[in-house]
Amino acid sequence: MFKKILVANRGEIALRVIFACRELGIKTVAVYSEADENSLHVRFADEDICIGPARSSDSYLNVPAIISAAEITGADALHPGYGFLSESAYLAEVCEACHIRFIGPDPNVIRLLGDKAKARRAMKKAGVPMLPGSDGPVESEERATKIAQQIGYPVIIKAVAGGGGRGMRIVKQPADLPHAFKTAQREAESAFGVGDVYIEKYLESPRHIEFQILGDHHGNVVHLGERECSIQRRHQKLLEESPSVAVSDKVRRKMGALVVDAARAVQYTNAGTFEFLMDEKGNFYFMEVNTRVQVEHPVTEMVTGIDIVKEQIRVAAGARLGFKQSEVTFTGHAMECRINAEDPETFVPSPGMIHAFSVPGGPGVRVDTAAHSECLISPYYDSMVAKVIVHGRDRQESIARMRRVLEMSVVEGIRTTIPLHLKILNDPDFIAGRLSTHFMERFAAKPKTQPLAETA
């Protein structure tokens, strides 16, 4: 087992890794930017090293500084957390070169799955269902029409270089294709300098369903079931749950086995997440693989009782997985709300000093946070203040529990998304489990069913 792990992250996930290390009896090294000098991960690590100024590019994204910190403290492993450098094949390679164990998959696996096109090919080859479309750019309007006919309308035209909606067109019927194709190309050209576009099937109201896997260095891979993360805004997840109302035991076993095989096919090790879109008919379509621990990993920990971060550390150290697939059981229902320092209506970030911070406990409540009374939420990093996770015997109890926890939470000094979460938790469609990635749009559009109780 490792002697000392450097935690190359900040905030709640840095603390989360420190929890796991302490429980395993492993020493920890915190790295921090000048802005985080007084944060809890620095306070509770055994050693701490300032690696740069507030700006992430000069600190938490600064590979030389982080590696030097590991070297001068003699850390024998590094946990990247999520975000920042957690999916950097480069960092993983440098660690290897410096004989520091990177707690995550092999650099080649990270690089392969980090490349959209390569990942699609590899996963397709491994039998993972794909969204039908033109693999690669479409030159002519004629080709476009042909492909659209093949995959069936509606289709979506996207810029190859693209992202963020520009150069994107949804086409409901053949008649609209030519015009849409041209404008998409034009927009792509002007926005990214490259006019290339590709065509994919468009899903009217898909759910975001993802499967958690764990693999060791002895060829063992298991899945820990799914999480539904359909409640998102601009691709930012707000609320996650497990199990999904839309996934039956049968489907869970089938898809679970499928992702386990796919992971084996690329010699996947450590923790990972396969993200899918699921259409109304229950068909799954591959999106991507995240080669790190995820923000929402606690909901899976709550229903399985497995400490994912501890397992990451154990398998990285060469140990075998602590359990077989047959020993993974799912109990009750878990839900996570991400509490962000944002205006609950405008989503404008609201950094600042938290004067009072208190989240009630009681049965089935877990809080992962680096916040406390009189702590400063700095404007330099993401706005997540806390993750509130609840576990209930069923989804109904989870919802009731989450409601009472958020209603009784006190966060003074900054604005948070707690009132937004309370609106979601009281929404009839949400309660009925009628979810899709468009939920928040529909939702935001709706008139307020009730005033925002300023619970926090």
Binding site: E34, E37, N38, L40, V42, R43, A45, D46, E47, D48, I49, C50, I51, G52, P53, S59, P64, A65, I67, S68, A69, E71, I72, T73, V94, C98, H372, S373, E374, C375
Partner: protein, 167 residues
């Protein structure tokens, strides 16, 4: 005195854990007494060691407030030293690594206390990821103190040298 000014004043006084404060000037009279039980004591002209102490892992837990206070002092002192009427200039480490005073083991140190240095002159080497990074002086002046031992690890922003600028 506006309410805001009063608040700032109180903040500052608490930040430095003063127990009593009294001020009387052109008609305004203010007196503040604090019941604070914080351990951190604000000593004017803190020793150079304190910043490092404050930055080091907190052994005996303190309240976040205390930690903040301590840190604030640390920063305050560093800055003060750096600005104090230009009296002293502090050279801080731009990177994380290992501090070496000479080009190789046994060789003459680049500089010692009392030496006069020119802008751009090499003061030390910091090794990071097997690379030797030369740290140059940003000032003409006299080296008045060297805060780090040869071969010791340094963090980003850690104080290396104090230089008294010539004129």
């Amino acid at each position: 005195m506006t309410l805001d000014e009063i608040k700032q004043l109180i903040e500052f006084i608490k930040g430095h854990d003063l127990n009593e404060f009294e001020l009387e000037q052109d008609g305004v009279k203010i007196r503040i007494k604090s019941s604070s039980n914080h351990q951190v004591v604000a000593v004017p002209h803190l020793p150079a060691a304190l910043p490092i102490v404050a930055a080091a892992p907190v052994a005996a837990p303190q309240t976040p407030a205390q930690v903040a206070a301590a840190a604030a002092e640390a920063r305050a002192v560093a800055d003060q030293a750096a600005e104090d009427g230009g009296e002293l200039c502090i050279v801080k480490s731009p990177i994380v690594g290992t501090f070496y005073r000479s080009a190789e083991p046994g060789a003459e140190p680049f500089v010692s206390v009392g030496d006069t240095v020119k802008k751009g002159q090499v003061l030390c080497i910091i090794e990071a990821m097997k690379l030797m990074n030369e740290i140059d002086s940003e000032y003409d002046g006299e080296v008045t103190s060297i805060y780090i031992e040869n071969g010791q690890a340094v963090q980003y922003g850690e104080r290396l040298f104090a230089i008294k600028p010539s004129n």
